[in-house]
Symmetry: C2
Subunit: 398 residues, 2 copies
Amino acid sequence: MPETWLGLPEDTGFGLGNLPYGVFSGPGGDGRRIGVAIGDQVLDLTAAADGTDFAGLLRAGVLNSFMAAGRPVWREVRETITGWLIDEAHRERVSAHLVPLAEVELHLPFEVADYVDFYSSEQHALNANRIFRPQSRDEVPRNWRSLPVGYHGRAGTVVVSGTPVRRPHGLRRDGDEIAFGPSARLDFEAEVGFVVGTPSEPGEPVAVADYAEHVFGVCLVNDWSARDIQSWESAPLGPFLGKSFLTSVSPWVVPLDALAHASVAPPRQEPEPVAYLREPGAGLDLALEVRLNGHLLSSPPFATQYWTAAQQLAHLTVNGASLRTGDLYASGTVSGPERGQWGSLLELSWNGTEPVELAGGTRTFLEDGDEVTITATAPGPDGTRLGFGGVTGRVGLS
Amino acid sequence: MPETWLGLPEDTGFGLGNLPYGVFSGPGGDGRRIGVAIGDQVLDLTAAADGTDFAGLLRAGVLNSFMAAGRPVWREVRETITGWLIDEAHRERVSAHLVPLAEVELHLPFEVADYVDFYSSEQHALNANRIFRPQSRDEVPRNWRSLPVGYHGRAGTVVVSGTPVRRPHGLRRDGDEIAFGPSARLDFEAEVGFVVGTPSEPGEPVAVADYAEHVFGVCLVNDWSARDIQSWESAPLGPFLGKSFLTSVSPWVVPLDALAHASVAPPRQEPEPVAYLREPGAGLDLALEVRLNGHLLSSPPFATQYWTAAQQLAHLTVNGASLRTGDLYASGTVSGPERGQWGSLLELSWNGTEPVELAGGTRTFLEDGDEVTITATAPGPDGTRLGFGGVTGRVGLS
């Protein structure tokens, strides 16, 4: 891999092989601009692209127009930026558009169209069944190995990392009483999100093989969950207010093209899925980490996910549902086979019965003032690791 | 009620007391324009409002900017239009902007932000429990009388009346086999939809009493449902592809201010709900009719709904979730106590076991070529009935 004239340290997560897209405001310009993270700086792409033939796609202060332009344009822009950062001839011009990351405010990078959340970690489904349906003879729900279970969440409450997390109020069962109040079982869910760029037509399912034509990139997701509210409300139509108060995403969208080295074979699927899900496409070798007040709680391995992102997209559209630019679909809680790899407090504290040890105490569920941060790295070129930036949120009173 | 110089027949559903808003294209102008239905014509409001102080809100070819402006503006615009249609002095100018309804194409009247579907008919919940959970000792789900059960649907596949209904493909259980193919149990659901105009802030629940500050108006909804797909996929996270292929809405949004005469006391709620749901607000005396290929199948009475639209809105936001302009929430299938008042084929054919008699045959679920039309009327001023325009769709092959 060629080097950039920026002379980045080898262990930066935002090296030349990554180039994730985000939206920022701060020094060096007005309003919200599209940026690319490089080392500990942001390249102001809205400014730097002025005069190029794709400049018009990068002026809206949000990624949607660029994401809608499709893979050939995504590739052209990525190659152009890479060229700027390698070729000394661009150094002076491009340097003028670099802003320290520490000085900018990061915003929600794209307008969310529809938000779908899947449930595709086998270990998470096993854990949930053992916790909530211990009398069941099924290890996982009976439909679970035949299709990627999923549901729609609230797009309007997807927010960027750093947004305060108000503890939601709601109804919960307390013995024989139905009580209203702040959730006593507030949880995180460590997930990976896939952002749709190229839309699709109604009635035209997207095949697994066409996944990379539609998915622009990948971010991290914390699907905050109020377990007590969720538990009481969910029959028979699924989660609603237990999830809809907030979903946080990381500020940087890592392009699919950056993740070529992270491609892995997914786990074997048994029984073999029906035709539209049969070819799984690639898994992604992302190493997630979840920290609570700085303490490493869990290290979920995304490579263990049962259903791939390509299968999820094929499933989402097989009924004829169309995709819009800005659709976000998330993996569901990522939990690996080992206890230290589970992606929620529900699992880590076994529904509150086995408190988790922290440096400064124990936790069953989240307390006010707690800060949860999810990060991830992935294999990049030449043995480097790509970073995802983190998705973080601090719990406060509603 | 004063009369309009248009000299409308007494039985028009689109009289001076209604004035529903929609979006149309066709003769007399370019592109999509905002219109008001009056008799058998459309008043081109985008053109007629030119020069008024609210003209800027009516130029986008979609209602969202106007809906975002809030109740005082909605009222001002409605009073202005009413004045134009009463006062002979406006006759010549306004007449130039009237287009026959028969000559226009109607479009989705607003951009849908989030779409939520409730489940608030007691009879529908009773029927569903008897059909799907006959072994249950509960008449309705145990949480059902404590809160308005609901879930998020797919906003991107909400379409205007008349859009063809492609039969969705998906997975279903067929004995011990899991089969993929076109749904064999395609159904309609007759519902009423509520369209949010004024947004709300995160963390600030909307009280029942503030309902009319946020809800712009009312439309009809057909929440098409593939019962076989829904049945297999729904555990444990609720409906997904069995619903997400299409949801049809009527082209006219009837303003809340038009429905003052339709206000009724809702059914008694027992047990008494918790504080944020205690004051129910008003029910709405809408008389729905569902026709299949012109044959009257059902006459669901909306006045029998257990939870009111104001309670649904309070519930939707009580966890701190914010509202956006364009949020659509639907009532859930409207089914009255009598069999001829049930709002889905699932109920009318008792899950396919008791075929419904039509003029030209019988039905359990929808066949290709079937056309479903839902209409409604409501009490208006001076003994008139307001119409809703219909929501219609013809089933074709995927």
